[in-house]
């Protein structure tokens, strides 16, 4: 099977930039959501449609990103 329709797009989610990568392989669309920096994968989903795969990945990524706390980077 050949990879078809490979796309990447950046979006803001819960105050962080993510990269959404989607492609089709056979009958399934695969999607993964990475934090834009450093690029770690937050969610990986598969679905019969691109929209469904992306929606599930975004939802899961958002859950995880909301847990990240920003701290002071100087001594209190």
């Amino acid at each position: 099977m050949r990879v078809e329709g490979f796309t990447e797009r950046n979006l803001q989610l819960a105050g962080w930039e993510i990269v959404l990568t989607t492609y089709r392989l056979g009958d399934l669309y695969h999607c993964k959501a990475d934090n834009a920096a450093p690029g770690a994968t937050l969610a990986r989903t598969s679905a019969p449609s691109k929209e469904e795969a992306e929606e599930k990945a975004i939802r899961r990524a958002e859950e995880l990103l909301l847990r990240t706390k920003r701290r002071s980077a100087s001594k209190p």
């Binding site: 099977m1 050949r2 990879v3 078809e4 490979f6 990447e8 962080w16 990568t21 492609y23 392989l25 695969h30 993964k32 990475d34 934090n35 920096a37 450093p38 690029g39 770690a40 994968t41 937050l42 990986r44 598969s46 990524a61 995880l64 990103l65 847990r67 990240t68 706390k69 920003r70 701290r71 002071s72 980077a73 100087s74 001594k75």
Partner: protein, 288 residues
């Protein structure tokens, strides 16, 4: 790729596509997200799980020698097999696997430039088929720690202000604003960086398509931060895989003679009692 110090250590996606199924070539996918391989992988590729197959699963350490030999053997890799490594995130954990193969003296390991992402973006063939593997005889060398830094060496480098510490995490991790990359579990008690470290995030070495930048660009990037190969470079990140990617760049693409991966990285240093920590941007950079 001829401009690199060791061009034999990387191969292109084209090169790999022409060698699928060759007898003495074993293609191994090593992903951060271990589900990626099951989704689809290069024809004939096997996979290694960094969480269970590339580490000691009891204590925190690299794969013990006996387990390494067993992994190679079960993977159908003999001492003279060409091992092609690739993975997601522009080869983070593929580089981690490469680093361990070198520690145990495997002579012919190579990274597929651009990793899984480049292969996908080029619309190449993927399969979900699992190939049967015939075990091979494998005899690893004793681990050579020339390429690995342990805590005492890093402490000494800080104390004596010797060596060059290269922190390859993101600026927000480096400054202490966040303890782990966005969305990942926090696995250390303190944020910040090792005093004296330069901050050169791992992705600075990559082109937009995930391949490595040219040797001239890489040399200029590190020279701007005072890293020129004259002193031992010690790379670190959070758990040691992003830094193995930078270790690969400094060692194999630029040919610096003394480069070590500190795989204890921030999850060791940031949990130590009494270890010195700097917060904020790099003080070395501010003094320039």
């Amino acid at each position: 790729m001829g401009e690199y110090a060791h061009p034999e250590a990387i191969v292109s996606t084209d090169w790999v596509s022409q060698r699928l199924g060759e007898a003495n070539v074993r293609i191994v996918e090593v992903d951060v997200d271990t589900r990626a391989w099951r989704e689809g992988h290069l024809p004939g590729a096997i996979t290694w799980d960094w969480q269970t197959q590339l580490c000691d699963t009891v204590r925190r350490d690299i794969l013990p020698k006996e387990d390494f030999a067993r992994l190679m053997s079960r993977s159908g890799i003999a001492n003279d097999t060409t091992v092609i490594l690739y993975g997601d995130n522009n080869n983070w954990f593929a580089a981690w696997a490469f680093w361990q193969l070198r520690l145990y003296g495997h002579p012919d390991a190579r990274l597929m430039n651009g990793g899984r992402r480049k292969w996908l973006s080029e619309g190449r063939e993927l399969t979900v088929d699992v190939v049967p593997v015939t075990p091979a005889d494998y005899h690893p060398q004793c681990a050579d720690f020339e390429n690995r830094a342990f805590l005492p060496e890093v402490l000494a480098a800080v104390r004596m202000n010797s060596g060059s510490l290269v922190d390859v995490r993101e600026p927000e991790e480096f400054s202490g604003e966040i303890l782990a990359p966005p969305g990942l579990n926090e696995t250390c008690q303190r944020g910040g960086h090792i005093p004296g470290a330069r901050n050169i995030p791992w992705e600075a070495v990559c082109n937009p398509d995930g391949t490595f930048r040219s040797a001239d660009e890489l040399r200029a990037l590190y020279a701007a931060h005072g890293i020129d190969g004259s002193a031992t470079a010690i790379c670190y990140c959070r758990i040691g895989e992003r830094s193995s990617h930078t270790w690969f760049v400094l060692k194999y693409l630029l040919g610096f003679p003394k480069v070590k991966n500190y795989d204890g990285s921030w999850t060791e240093w940031g949990n130590l009692i009494g270890a010195p920590i700097e917060l904020g941007p790099a003080q070395w950079e501010q003094g320039q």
